[in-house]
Symmetry: C2
Subunit: 362 residues, 2 copies
Amino acid sequence: MFCKCTENNTPQTNNLSTGLKQVGDKPFVGETPQNALNSWLTPNPLFYVRSHFEYPDVSDSDRINWSIYIDGGDGEVKKITMKELMRMPKRTMAVTMECAGNNRSDLQPKVSGNQFDSGAVSNAIWTGVSLSHVLDQVNISSDSVEILFEGADRGVPEQGYGESSYLRSLSLDIANDPDTILAYEMNGEPLPIEHGFPLRLVVPGWYGMASVKWVKSITAIKEPFHGYFQGKKYVVRYENGKEHPLTEMQIKSFVTSHQHGESISNGPISLSGLAWAGRARVKSVEVSVDGGKTWDNATLNGPSDTYSWQKWSLEWVPANIGHHTLIAKAIDFNGNKQPIESVWNELGYALNGLKPVCINIV
Amino acid sequence: MFCKCTENNTPQTNNLSTGLKQVGDKPFVGETPQNALNSWLTPNPLFYVRSHFEYPDVSDSDRINWSIYIDGGDGEVKKITMKELMRMPKRTMAVTMECAGNNRSDLQPKVSGNQFDSGAVSNAIWTGVSLSHVLDQVNISSDSVEILFEGADRGVPEQGYGESSYLRSLSLDIANDPDTILAYEMNGEPLPIEHGFPLRLVVPGWYGMASVKWVKSITAIKEPFHGYFQGKKYVVRYENGKEHPLTEMQIKSFVTSHQHGESISNGPISLSGLAWAGRARVKSVEVSVDGGKTWDNATLNGPSDTYSWQKWSLEWVPANIGHHTLIAKAIDFNGNKQPIESVWNELGYALNGLKPVCINIV
C-alpha cells in the first residue's frame, strides 16, 4: 500500500472549461475531469460519456414526437409517444452511474478496453416515468422471463459480428421496480444527445451498461437474453474460469480533494472524496493518511439520495512534511466492505480496490 | 376560491431554450419559466435572477484571485483569498431560494416592484465553506451584535439616496450556523456572474435578499444594521401599520404540472407541484381538484434535502369534463399551514396564499 510520489508528477490541469477527458473516439468516450469529481452533482457537459456506436439520428422535435414500441410477448404491440410518457406520473431521483470499466487503467496485468482512470462515474438528477407504469400499458405474456430493451444506436460491435442495435435485458423484478425509470430529463434539462436523448433507461445502483440509451423498443421475452452486450461483454471472467454478468455497482470510495503527485504547503488540510455502494447505502468511510497503517472515520456530508454517491470529508493536520499516502475505504449498511485490491478479470470490470493517492507535504 | 378559465387563455409557450421570463431590466430581473418548475433541480441558466445594481466587474481569474476582507470589529482585518477559501472544508447542500417578491403580480390592490408570477423561486446544489469557519479566522469583538456583508455591486438604490453597495447583516447565531455558507459553486459549476461569481452568501431557508452576491467584505458590527436593503426595503409593512423585516421563507406550495387556462383531454391526469417551508420540512401537501371543496393527500416524492423544496404528485381521474380548479396546500412539521390568502403588504412580500389553477377537461 506504500507509494512514493514521483517528483515530476505534474498535477492534472483544470479542464473544467474544455470538458471531458477523452478516453476513446469513434464513438467518443470521455471521463469526468478530476475537478468535477469534487462536486456532488455532475453538470451535464461533464458527465462521463460511454457509447458503443455513433449517436443515432434524432432531432429536437423528437422531444415530443419520439415513440417507443412495447411488445408484451403475445403479439400485442403498443406505440407510446414521448408526449404520452411525459403526461404519466413523474419520478425524480439522484442516481450515480459508474461505467463498469472505471479504473481499468489501474489493472495489472493490463487488459484491453477503454483505459479509464477514476472519472467514469458521475451523479445527476434524473426525471422520467417508472418503467413499470409503462409496462402496465400492455399485457405482459405470462411466460415472459425478461424485458429486453433496444436502443436506436446500431453498428458492428466487433470484427466478425454482424451489425446490430445496442440490446440489453432486465429480469422482471428489476424491470418492475418503481425506481427503474425511463428518463427524459437530466439535471432539469432535456437529456443531452450523448446521454440518450430523448429517452433512456436508468437502472439505479447498476453499472451504466444497463441504462440503455435512445430507447426505441421494449419487449417481453420468453428466454433469457445472451446477446453481445450481455453474454460476451459486460461479463466478469476471472482467471479461474468462473464468470458472472455485471449487475450492481460494487462498493467503492476514493479521494477527490487531492491528486496523486500533488505538493501541498504544510498546515490544516481538508480531505474529501466520494463513496457509493450500488443499491445499498454507505454506512461509513474510513480514511488513512499513512498508507493504510492507521484509519480515521470521515464525516459523511452533502446531500444524499437513495442511489446517489455520498460525499465525505476529514480535517487533517499533518504531523510532518514529506510523502503521505491517502486512502479511503467504504463500508455499507449490508456489511459490505471495499476490498484492498481489485480482482483481476479478463475485461477489467467492477474494479473497486482501494485507490492510494500520494501527496507531498512541503 | 372558484375560478373560471377564460377560453382564450393561451398556455405559456415553452421557453426552455430561450431562458428566463424577463421581469425587469437595468439591472436584469428574470424568473424561472413554468416548464423548468417541473424539475426538482433548476439548471443554472434557468435559475431566477434578481439583482439590485449592474453586475460588478469580475473576471475569470477572480475564481482564484478574488479576496474578501474579514473585519472582526476590534481593528483586525484579515484578507482571505478564494484559493484559501476553496482549501477549507467544503459544504454541499441543495437549497431552494425564493425572491421575497415572488407572486407579487397576484396581489390586489397592486403594489409597485417587480411583477413576478410564480417563478421567482428555484432550487440548486450549492457548494462552499461554512461562514463560521471563515469567521473563526479572526477574533470577533465580544461586543459585536451582527455580521455585515458587503457585495461588490454598487449604485443608487432609489432617487434621493446616495450611491452605496448592496449591504445586509445577519444575527450572530445565523451567521454562525454551519449551514450558512459562502458558496462558490452552483450545480457543480463555478457560480455564474448573475448569481454572484466568484463568491456569494447562501442563507438556507431565508428569502433570497439575505444571500448577498459578489461578497467583498464581512464585518462584525456593534449596532444592528438598518441600511436601505434592510430597513427600508425587504420589510413587510401591513395596512395596520405593523412591520417586520423579512427572514425565513413562508410555507408555500403550488401546482406546476398544469397552467391556468389549459385544456386537457379527459383521462387519467398526473398532477404535480412543489412545496417548501423555509427552514422547516414539509410534512404533507393536500390537493383539491374542485376549488377547495374536497382535499386529497398528495404523495411527496423526488429527492429531498433539509433546505430544498419537495416535489409532490397526485393521480387524478376527472369524473366529468368542464372547468376544474386545482389547488395545493402545504403543512410543515412545525404545524404551520399555508394560508388561504396572502396578506397584503405595502411592498408585496412573502406572498404565500393558495394559488388556484383553472383547467378545462375536454
